[in-house]
Each structure stands twice: as structure tokens, then as C-alpha cells.
Symmetry: none
Subunit: 306 residues, 5 copies
């Protein structure tokens, strides 16, 4: 496992972490088809919990089985697989050592109409006993309950780091504090990435940002700073910049399932904008297995620059 | 206690669990008239707490006595008996080793009109000292308080598993987030089963689902996926599928007391749909003892395929 | 699992234990070919640790593999299988629920010449996670270190009972305080059984006692009380009496491997003297598998009274 | 349970104890035929552990059964019954609430020849779960290991008192520091009682002291102080005096079994000397049950002053 | 990281372990030039602590620097590197993720002449924060202090397993109970391996056994069982057998530095006897770096069967 210069460079950004956490980050960066490139493609499957099973797996019935996703992540060359407790437990034993695992420690369903706040559904000790490289956690900047989420994440992060695990944060703006359009606004997306980094996360996942700007002061600031945000690549570039000047790993989610061409074009923009990679869930598993693997391999090829 | 192939197959789905928890699951699956078949009939008696004694036991006065239910479960050949702390304590000593016990760790009464959320009424240590094979826990997806329930269950599950116990979750959609009809809607029932599995439960109990679909997106997904839900058997089949592609044990509750023929027809549908069995409470104890035992034996006979 | 009158009677002797511990005792008494009779035949395999592998398994090479012993105990109809941590761990997962397990929590090797004192090699938490019904522990009355062993056992017993496990004690007189002949003397064997019971053990295992009497005062007492100890059956009877007037389960070890006839004659004497059964190790596994199973079945037949 | 003046007076000596501990002392003093008199007769049965079963119970075979002793203590009107863990556990459940129990927390056997030091064989938590009024503990002043015993007692005493239990100490001089005759010498007996009180015990049990004086300085001091120690009553009186000027409860053991007249004469001397009562073990159970009860009743009658 | 059939087979022997521990075992087996073969070559460097720096590193001065050994293990294609706390800490950060690390948790120096017993010099939490795959621990069967070592290992093993780490035990017979020749006797080597496995170790390291037999009973048993031990390969084969019938990973140490041909001949014998690999310390680092790497690569080639 000779380390590439790029992986060494990325690890150098996390100087305050102990060797255990760095070892896990290295495992993430040195696994799969993108091993050593500093790019990441991760398969996340928490949609069953977040949107319900029929909406998530109805179009590809085999995907109800957690094993489907372990195999999909391994066979397509992903760097890692992320899922809630039960989904990880279902196959962690059978596939031990075959794919880095990220245990999603909180989750939300669509069955309640209250202000968004995910429930804590797993623990750092679960991550250890299941052999995971990292914990995953979702924050909803903009929610009235954001403080509780930030505070829980703080505590879990401290514990994870002391036990040699990495922290991957899903930063999803949402809630009373934001307009619907604002949830993906470029200022808000960059802001959310920055908050996640400030909370000590190693890897941050955000949604692809739109050109909308939610906050007036932000609009002025983009203009004053002459920061280009016209293209998706430019917006990706600014989000990466917002994450500690590019010294934290920011990856992007593709959102709802869409056509292959559309997905690949987004990936090219992320790559052009200096993004570190993608979390691809629905677009990967809401199509037949062969097509899903094919898409993931094409995405990986773009990040490889080949 | 030679293990049947079916029991071995079911245990293989729980690879991440320690041998202690698997031993308890094996005890559940290897007890009673359905021993070795992979099917389960469980007698649950928490109605006294949930609905009050007169509504629960008024029509069959002897059933006020916890011993009535221990004897009913044993004499009818059930796999297990589930009840709250006091009910279990009342006879766990006298019947030690005669029937696997599931300690219901939370309960709700009808004396308060607030958003539904059960109180924690027992502990994992209680389950150990009382010789139980599993803890039981109710979640109310749809309640504004669902997160607290998910989080408490997470913690109890981790503790139970580390001490070699199994986890049985009652997944009962309820609360502000749902219409009354939605509580048993097929999309919601399947969703609730999936959430319980994602929280790490070994066995999930849901209500028999109706053909109603609560969420618009779910309706589209059922149509798009061409998932048949016209008959009860088909709906049972989808709920089992929603529970990790059929790799978690899902059992069904009969709900309110009704006529014998109606009950047995439901059981036939569950069996036809690949359900793993039933939790039969009121229909078992809200009739004279001989009739209750007779009904349970008929139910068991259907699951035996005889 | 209807309880026989005899099992009910035995359980009634342990009134101060919680239902969890009684459930485990019931599992022990209700498993295998002797289920329900109140008699026990247990396969113990700690000889590898105690005497080394070549002395233990050289004559039956397959017995080096822990799985051999799980299968031997199951296939011959034993009530339980007892072994040290590593031996139990090797197959507890594969055979979960198929045979009650007793985790030997201390062990001694023959590589050191100091006053006998076993090392603690497992914990109550190990017993829980491995799904065991009981902990096992060896005391050496007569050793200068007996107090440490009694005190460790006391602590483990308290913990085991609070977590719903049973306690099986190997009471093996040995050490500076005794002559070599005294180790199996009738007064000492009975004394050791009594000490183990006084320490709160549920089941006590002792060696078959000889007619030798080690202590002068004991000799006078046997004479004064006119207690017959001429035959093995009579000595067994007194050891059972010494264990709380016959209200604790006392089982006997066969010791070194010997001829089948000799073994079976000993079993008949134990049965005639009212002993509760046998722990048969070397005589079971130091012969070819078919012969070992055959011998165990013959032993079981004697205890069945058939 | 109206308190007699005498009981009130005795309780007043223990002002620093919490009401829980005082409640237990009151239960001890208000039970049995001597209730309210401030006198105590206690049945202790740890001889099985201390001397072996045949020496203890050979002459009265039924006494091997722990139940024999519970019944003996209750039927003869004793204030309490004291025994090691296993003996108490055997019947604490069946006789719960019928006789105050003292759990002997340490015990010694005769199978090892090392310097005397009892092993700790029970815990304060055991005493609580078994419903005992007090813990019992033996110290051997004169042993090379006395400090370990004093220190263990200190810790157990602190725990017992914080949990509302009383402490009964057996103070038995023994070991390298003393001549054989010195073990019951008047100066040593009084010294031992004083040490037990100084360690915080509520009730102290010593052997009947002889007129021998072990330490030269003590001899001079008895002479100088003109303290009469010629008769047994005088020696009892001095031992009581040594226990905080009579403000700690000191009771006396009868030692080896002997003739009824001899026993009763000793009791009269204890009564004459102001002793608080007796612990009568072997003299009570090493004769037929009817005789044992008769003897205990005669002893009680003496203490009643009738 | 597709798993080879051989690695899957080896992992299947550890069924009672959680997925975390299995993941670490998989990392060990899937790293370096022997990845996937089921064979292991590990570089251990605790000689500085065990024998002092000048004896250990005097002939190859650069080896005083811990970094020398990290590089040596990585560059030669070893599966793992094992060392005490300070040695690991020195470079764990710089080489995070480049080589699986085994933290030796106890060590002994040559500065005291007492009966051998290593000091605990690290913790499981250290192993986690340093990113190690396993803890390492040395036992000295034959030492008067063996019990303390077994008991400490037991505790560390339970903790390591619960936190998803593996356990590697150095089983080195030594101490008053053995003759000097007996330390490497075939019966003792096999016995030591068996003890380490019984204590729950995943990987056991022993010294290459001689044809000497230390215990008379063992001599008889080898003869009776007709177990060939004439060649080194035969003795290796029996030691592997002694480790749970070949179902635990046993590796061998080369001992003192010697000529290349001699070393390689030993490796061929280990390979022929079915050994799982080697721990090569002094022979690797007590020669110039290029020669050390060359030797390790030749050893690896033999284990590859090429």
C-alpha cells in the first residue's frame, strides 16, 4: 500500500488527527478503482429509511436486499459504502474487509411533518464492532433544531476521533430558516460545507449548488469578491474553497434519479470544479444492476481523468 | 436440538450478531408446535396497559391474572409470550424455562391525549434476570416524538445485543404525520417495517396492511414498479420484501377481536404471502380458554401447512 | 417444554435465584437424551489446556479440532458441553442454540510447578455474548491459594446470577494441605462438595471418592454417625448428602481414560448412590468417535434407568 | 412493634448509624422469644464450611439440609440465623420474612495448613438481595494476616452501613502471635472484642474467656486495676466492659458440643456477667431436633430471667 | 479487495468474532506480497526493549531509528509490523495506512533477574488511536507468574474483540517449570500454542520446536498416537494441529540471527509442515537493509510456493 503523493497531501491536511483516524482516511482513499487518486465515489443507501422502501427500491426490486448494495459497491469499484445500522449489520460479517464501511449514525423518515431533525440511530461503538472506517451524520443547517444536531455531532465526532475513526458529514440545508430554493443556493451550500468542516468533519457531502443566492449579504459579497458562480463547475469550485480553502474533502450528491447523460455531465462539472468526488445513491441502484455498475464505472472513469 | 435447514437459513441472515443473540433466536424458532419451521406464533399481552383492564379482560374475567396467559401460551404451543415488566415478573419464576419470554420495554396508556410516545417501562437487565430471550419495543413512525423512540430503541438494541439478547420491534405508524387510514396503509406498513429493520431489529411486528396508499410518491412507485397489492397476501408479500428483501422476520398482528373464520382467513393470507407468523393477542384471550387454545392451534396448523 | 415433576423439584431447591438463572438450569435439565429426568451427562473438554494437546488428543487425532467436541456432545445426546474460552468461541456461532454451553472461566496448565491455582481465562460477559447457560469454575480446596480461588468465584458467581446465568463448580481438592491419597478421600470429596455449595454454586462436580479418610476427626465422625462408605455407591450417596442434604446437583468425573466395562460399572454405582450424573471427558473423546458416542449413550441409558 | 425501654437504650448507643441500620438492629432485638429484652440467642451454621460436613452433621444426619436450620431457628424462638451464602440462599426465599438473617461474608476451611485467614465468600449486595439484617465477618486477631481481615471488614462495614445493614463480627484470636492457651485468655478475648468494636461492628461475638492471661503487661494491669476475673461471670463482665464500657452488644459462643448441664451453667454465668446473649451452633444442631429445640428454649429462659 | 477462497476459509474459523475483528484479520491477510494467500510474514521489533539497543541494533546502526523498520516492512512486502508503544508512535502518523500495525502490549527487559513476567506497556485504546489492526501480547507458560499473564491477556482480549481488533499472542515457554531445553521442546511448543488459542487468540506465534520432549507423559502420547516429529516440517505440522486442529493461524519465529541458507531452509520446512508463516525480526534487521529486504523477499517467495 505505497501511498501516492496526492493521498499524502490530503492526509497532511488532517494534522491534528491521530494515526488511527488517518489510517481510516487512507483506507478510504486507497480502496476501489479510484485508489490513490484522491477522488472518491461512495455508494450511500439510506433512502429506504429516508423515503420508504417502495419509493427507493420499487423500480429495482432486488435492491430491497442489503446484500445487493454491498455487491454493487464492491463490483463497481467504489471507495466505500454508507448505510444505517440495520443495513450495515445485514452483511458486514459476510463482506468483512471487502469494502470500507461508513455507518450512518442518524436518519430521518418522511412520516412526520415536524421541523427536520434526524434521529440518532447508531453509535461509535457500533461502528467499531462492525469494522467501519467512519461514522456518517446528517446536519440540517436552517432547521430550528440545528443546534441539537450540531451538538450531537460534536460529541460523536470527539468520540469517533478518539477511537481512530473518521467523520463524514452530510450537510443538507433545510428547515424554517430557508426558502425551498435556498436549500441548494450556492451561498447556503458553501455555508453548510463550511459549518460541517468547522464542526471537525473530515469529509463533507453537499448537494450540487444552484446559482440562486439566498442571503442578500451573500449576494453582495459574491459580487464584491468577483467570485464566478455562473457554471456548475464554478459553483463546485467555490464550495470546495469554502471548505477550508480546499483543504477538506468535499463530495457531491447527485440527488434524484435522472438520465445517464445528465448524471455524467454533472460529474464532469464536479471534476472540472475540483470536487473530490460523488456520493451516488439512487442513480446507482434505481436501475438494473448491470446499468448501475456501468454508470458507476463511467463516473469513476471521469474522476480518473481518463 | 438438531437445527432444521430453514432455521439455519434464518440464522444466517443475522451474521453480525454474536452467538448469544443467535442462541436466543434459535430458542424462539425451536420452541412450541412450530419449532423448526421458521414460522412463529407469539402471544402478546400488553392490552391491560394499553387499553385498560376492563376493555382487555372484561369479557374473559380469568385473563386478568398473568398466569392465565403463561398457561395459554404454553398449552397452545406458541413460540413465545410477550408482556410488560409486571406481567412477566408475576410468573417468570414459576414457569422458568417453559416458554421463551419477550419483555416489552415500553408501553403507552390511553389516559393522556398527547402525541403518541410510549414510556420505557423495563430494562435489558430486567430481561436478563427474568430469563427472557428478547426485548420488545414499540415505535410510532408518524408521531412527532418518533425520534425519541428511535433513539431509545437504538440504545436498548446495542445493549441487548451485547448481552446476547434478541430485539423484537412493534412498528405501529401513528401520530400527527399520518391520516387515520394511513396508519395501516400498505406503503406506511412496509415503510415502518423497513425502519424497524434499519434500526437493527431482529423481528418486526406490523399490522396487516390495507390497500390504501398514504403517500402520493409511494402510489407512483407501486405503479411504476408494477408491485401487486390487490390482495392481502400480496400486501403481506410486499411488507416482507420491504424488510431487507425477506431477510428479516416479519410477523403480523390481527388487531381487534373478530370471528374465528375471519381470523383464520387472515392467517391463510399471511401464509400465502410468505409472512413469518402472527402475534395474536386479543383474539386469543378475549374468548373462553378452550376456544382460545383451539383458535391458536388452528392458526398454528395453517402455518405448519397442514 | 412442559416441565417434568423431577425438574420442577430440582428447580424448587434454588428458590433464591432469579427466573433467568432458573431458566438456564431448566435448559440444562431439558436438553439431550436425559431431558426431564433430572440426570445430567456433560462433555467437558479442557484437557488440552490442563494436560497439553498431545496427551489429550494424541490417541484420537481429530479431537484436536474444537468442532469435534461440539458434534460429539450433540450427537451423543449430552445435556451440555463445557470448555475454555477459545474452544467455545471456535464453534459457538456455528452451533448456536444446539447444545447448552458452559464457559470454563479458569484453567491451569502443567507447565509450572507452583502451588495449584487456576488462572481466570474468561468472564461472565464472555458467557453472555457466547450464549452460554452457565459459567464453570475450578476450586482447589487444600491449596495455599484456595482463598483467592474462593474469592474470585464469589465475585463471578454474584455477577453470573445477577445476569441470569447458572454456576457449575469443579471442586478438586489439591495442594499442600492434603496428602496425595487425600485428594480423593471420601471426607475430603464430601467436604469439597459442601464448600462449593456454600459458595453458592448450582451444580458441583467432584471426583469419585475413595474409601480413604484423610482427617482423623472425620474418621471418628463417620464411625459415630454410622455412615456407610464401604462401596462406591455408598460414598456417592454421602457426597450427595454433603451437598445440602441432596438439594444441590452433584455430578461425578470419571478421571483417566479406562476400559468401557470399568466406566460403566462406575456409572452404575453413581446411579445406585443417587448421584445426579457425570462429566465424561477423556473417556468420551480419547477413543474413536463411534466408540465415544456408543459409550456416552450407554452411560445415558444407565442414568435413564433403562 | 412498640419499642421497650431497653431496646431504645441499646439503639441509643449507635447514634452515628443511619435509620436503616438501626431498623435492622431493632428487627434483631424484637424478634423471637427474647423480643424486647435486649438479649439475643442466635443460631449460626457455618460448621460445614469450617470443619466439613461429616464432622458437623454426621451425628444428626438431617442437619445436612439447610432447611433444618431455618426451621430450628424459627421453631426455637431464636432472634436470628447466621450462615454462609449458599446455606442462606438455599431457603431465604421459602422463609422470607420469618427469621432475621445474618449473612456470614467470610469463611475458612480446615483443608489448608497456612496461617489462618478466611476467604470472603459473600458480599453486601448478596445480603441485600437475600433480605438479611446484617453481615457477619470473622477476624483472627493474632494472625499474620490480621491486617488484611481488618481492612476487608472496614470496607464491608462501610458499605453495609451505607446500605442500612448491621455488622456482626466474630472476633476469634488465633495465629502465630498467640499461644494455644492465649486464644481464649481473658486479656486476649477482651482485646479482640475491643478491636471488633473499634472497627465499627454493632455486635461482637467472642468465645468464653478463660482465666489465663497471655500478655505480661495485661497481667500487671489486671492486678493494678483490681479487676476480678476469677469466675466466668466476672470474665464475661470484663469483656462486656471492654466493648465500649458495655455500650456494644457482646455475645458469646459455646464452642464444642457438650452436655446440657454444662451448657446451661455457662449461660447462667454469661447472664450473671451481663452478657447480651449467645451464639449456639453445634450444641443446638448436633443433637436430635427435639433436644436441640429444648436446649435453646432453656437457654432463652435463662436470658429472660425466668 | 475481492476475498480469495483461502482468506474466506480462514475467516470462517473465527465465527464468534464481530465483523470489526474479522475486518482487521482480512486487512492482515490482504496486505503485502502474500496478500490473499493465507500466509503471513510479519516484522517484529521489540528486541530493543527485550535485549537492549546495542545488542539489537549495534550491527546495523540505522536500525536504532524506528522509521527504519516501518520502511523495511513496507518495502519488503510484509503483511504487518509489530512493535511496542513508543516504536509504533514514532512513525504511525507518517506511515498511516501503509502497513498494518500490531501494538505489542507487554514487554520484558533483561535488567531484572526475577521469574519472567512482561510488563504491560500499552493499551487497547492506544491500538485504536494508532490505527493498529491487532494487539500483541507475550505469555510465558512455565513461569511462576503465568497466571497473571494469562489473566491480563484475557482482559485485554475481551476489550480488543469488543472494539473490533484482532489478538496476536507470542507463546514463549519459559521459567521455573521448564528445563532450558524444554523451552523449545515439541510437546511444550505445541502446548503453548494450544494455551494461546484457548485464551481466545486469533494468531499465535511460537518458536520453531526441537525434537526434545520435556514431559514424560507427552513422550508416551507421541508414541502411542504414532505422531511423527522427526523432521522440522513434522514438528511444525503437529504444532499447527495443536492449534485447534489447524483452525487457528500459527506462525513461527526464526530466533537468533543466522546465515541466509539456514533461515531459508527453516522457512521451507515451515511451509512443508503447513505453517502459516513467519515472524522475522533479527534476521531481517541485523544485516544491511538491502540484504534484509532481499532475505524477506526470498522468504515470501517460499510461502508463495513460487
Amino acid at each position: 500500500m505505497a501511498q501516492t503523493d496526492r493521498v499524502k497531501e490530503i492526509l497532511s491536511w488532517y494534522g491534528s488527527d491521530n494515526p488511527g483516524t488517518k489510517t481510516q482516511l487512507a483506507r478510504l482513499l486507497n480502496t476501489g478503482a479510484l485508489a490513490g487518486t484522491g477522488k472518491l465515489v461512495i455508494l450511500p443507501v439510506d433512502q429506504g429509511f429516508e423515503h420508504g422502501p417502495i419509493r427507493s427500491f420499487g423500480v429495482n426490486f432486488d435492491a430491497h436486499d442489503p446484500e445487493y448494495h454491498f455487491r454493487l459497491a464492491i463490483d463497481s469499484g467504489c471507495n466505500a459504502y454508507a448505510a444505517p445500522l440495520g443495513f450495515i449489520e445485514a452483511c458486514a460479517d459476510k463482506y468483512a474487509g471487502q469494502i470500507p464501511l461508513i455507518l450512518k449514525l442518524n436518519n430521518s423518515d418522511t412520516l412526520s411533518k415536524v421541523e427536520p431533525c434526524s434521529a440518532i440511530t447508531g453509535s461509535v461503538d457500533d461502528a467499531l464492532r462492525l469494522g467501519c472506517v467512519a461514522i456518517g451524520y446528517t446536519i440540517y443547517p436552517g432547521s430550528d433544531h440545528r443546534n441539537r444536531m450540531y451538538e450531537d455531532l460534536r460529541q460523536l465526532t470527539l468520540e469517533a476521533k478518539s477511537k481512530g475513526l473518521a467523520v463524514v458529514t452530510w450537510a443538507y440545508p433545510r428547515g424554517h430558516g430557508l426558502s425551498k430554493e435556498g436549500e441548494t443556493a450556492i451561498d447556503i451550500a458553501a455555508y453548510a460545507a463550511h459549518i460541517a468542516c468547522s464542526l471537525g468533519s473530515h469529509i463533507v457531502k453537499i448537494k450540487l449548488p444552484s446559482a440562486h443566492i439566498e442571503q442578500d449579504e451573500a449576494k453582495k459579497a459574491f459580487e464584491k469578491g468577483k467570485v464566478p458562480i455562473g457554471t456548475l463547475a464554478e459553483r463546485v469550485r467555490y464550495c470546495v474553497q469554502a471548505a477550508f480553502g480546499g483543504k477538506r474533502v468535499v463530495i457531491f450528491s447527485g440527488g434524484v434519479a435522472k438520465g445517464t447523460d445528465e448524471v455524467l455531465e454533472e460529474i464532469r462539472q464536479i471534476q472540472a470544479g475540483g470536487g473530490f468526488g460523488s456520493i451516488v445513491g439512487r442513480n446507482a441502484f434505481q436501475r438494473p444492476r448491470a446499468e448501475g455498475i456501468d454508470l458507476l464505472k463511467k463516473i469513476i472513469a471521469i474522476y480518473k481523468g481518463s
